[in-house]
């Protein structure tokens, strides 16, 4: 076991990425993720890596597309408005079946919004974001430790399935420091015969591409991709259950909202209310089965979010509306307090009396 160090969440992502063998980072300054870029700027030149501050978010994501085409681990990071700009490139990366890591340290929106924490890019992250039928593997860290661990996992999953991965964090987890045990050095273990590394006059040329002008061909690539998505949904769902076994009220929350919710669940238990928490670690694929399982015995769900209610739709779908689902949320950079969550738990608990 390596020694624990104190790091900001944003820095932990950067160091974990380097340890996962990522030697190419492209970004553009934006609060509240700038520490990540600054860390890369400092470290990359010392390990023969590449840090490049791109002229725009659009250029940065396309540089990512270039490096990934060459078969190497690569990432970019930004915050909400910048991630909107990247959507074109993300769609192309998805359409070209390239692995990549995109980090979104979310801030409040829409528009220029604010710079304080938010989770209001949930739809954008989990339902597509750019044009076309596609998904990202979306991981939601709730601690600095998970910022590191899920970064390494994101690279692995992305390489394995040839699906871009997104780390969906928020300003709080990005800015906070906690002790973290950094993951061991690793790297890509899958072959990438599709990479454009030069034919060496030994093989037919490889083409990285998302253009298919023949509808039958484009349909076939979409269906093939969705078969991989089905595998991901079957194999890669991750979540944490906390006191859900006998719960009457089940809170569903991720990231910083889950941290607050855990306090509220403990407070509710102290008051004799059987509350529990399901914390999705992957929000795509969403832990549908865990929700459906809980729906068999809970009175209802409380979706705690830093948005006007986005994940709540997935909770309702997962329990097939067999149980009421209420929303406890603050937006614009505000974070619900444990008391506010507790209040929602009580309401749900008493609602069906």
């Amino acid at each position: 076991m390596s020694e624990k160090v104190l790091m900001k969440g944003n820095e932990a992502i950067a160091e974990a990425a380097i340890r996962a063998g990522c030697r190419h980072y492209f970004g553009y300054p934006i609060t509240p993720q700038t520490e990540l870029a600054a860390y890369m700027a400092k470290r990359m030149p010392k390990i023969d890596g590449v840090f490049l501050q791109a002229e725009s978010e659009i250029a940065a994501i396309n540089m990512v597309y270039g490096v990934s085409s060459a078969g190497l681990r690569v990432m970019t990071s930004s915050s909400s408005p910048g991630v909107s700009l990247k959507q074109e490139g993300i769609s192309y990366i998805a359409g070209s079946d390239l692995p990549a890591l995109i980090v979104n340290v979310e801030r409040g929106g829409p528009g220029l919004g604010g710079i304080q924490p938010s989770q209001s890019d949930y739809f954008q992250a989990t339902k597509g974001g750019g044009h076309g039928d596609y998904h990202l593997i979306v991981l939601t860290p709730a601690s600095v430790q998970e910022m590191a661990d899920l970064t390494a996992l994101a690279f692995d999953l992305s390489d394995k399935y040839r699906v871009p991965a997104m780390l969906l964090a928020d300003g709080t987890i990005g800015q906070m420091m906690e002790p973290v045990e950094l993951p061991a050095e690793s790297g890509c273990t899958v072959e990438k015969p599709w990479a454009v590394t030069g034919t060496k006059m030994q093989r037919r040329h490889n083409i990285v591409n998302s253009l298919y002008l023949v509808p039958e061909e484009l349909e076939r690539t979409n269906i093939e991709r969705f078969e991989r998505y089905a595998q991901i949904e079957a194999n890669e769902v991750r979540y944490e259950k906390f006191m859900t076994e006998d719960a009457d009220v089940c809170v569903v929350a991720f990231g910083i909202a889950a941290r607050v919710s855990k306090n509220a669940v403990i407070a509710a238990r102290n008051e004799g209310i059987k509350a529990g928490l399901i914390r999705p670690i992957t929000v795509w694929p969403f832990p549908k089965k865990a929700i459906a399982e809980a729906a068999k015995h809970v009175k209802g769900f409380v979706s705690v979010e830093l948005s006007m209610g986005q994940m709540i739709e997935d909770v309702r779908l997962a329990c097939e509306c067999t149980r009421p689902v209420s929303l406890c949320s603050r937006v614009g950079g505000m974070i619900p307090s444990p008391d506010e969550v507790l209040e929602s738990i009580k309401k749900m608990n008493g609602g069906l009396k």
């Binding site: 609060t31 709080t172 906690e178 910083i256 941290r259 607050v260 444990p338």
Partner: protein, 176 residues
Amino acid sequence: MTTEILIAGFGGQGVLFAGKFLAYKGLLENRHLSWLPSYGPEMRGGTANCSVILSDDNVGSPIVSKPDVLIAMNLPSLDKFEKDVVPGGTIYVESTLISRKVARDDVKVFYVPATELAKSIGAPTLANMVMIGKFIRESGAVSYDELDAALKKVVSARHADLLEINLKAITTGYQY
């Protein structure tokens, strides 16, 4: 045991630094902890605050909305956060800059003329660490031993010459 600490003041008073010191001290003592700064334009000359949680167990929410301990380095911070401190909690007031008294009677209060004390040791910018010294003395939340090990983590190598004066500021507060 869990101690939720809120340190607040003007940007430039070393509020985040003081919090970082406590966080590293906690780390070296194998405590569970979190450190969360306010961030953004408000840091540049405006008010700044940071939340530090030290605990024997996993830290839940890193956001300190009901502090056990408030270290108020200026009047706006005291005005803003005084009401949030839990009953039975503690408020440390920087009394060189804050002339008013704490209105509540259900909290313990220490008035520390930290800026004045810092000036007296020739380090006028280290009022933050003087307050930390007093906090360590009164709370026992972290130990008074091996301060320099934690300081070395927060004072960058190129400012190593500042280690000693920081230590002196903490000691000054501790002894006040």
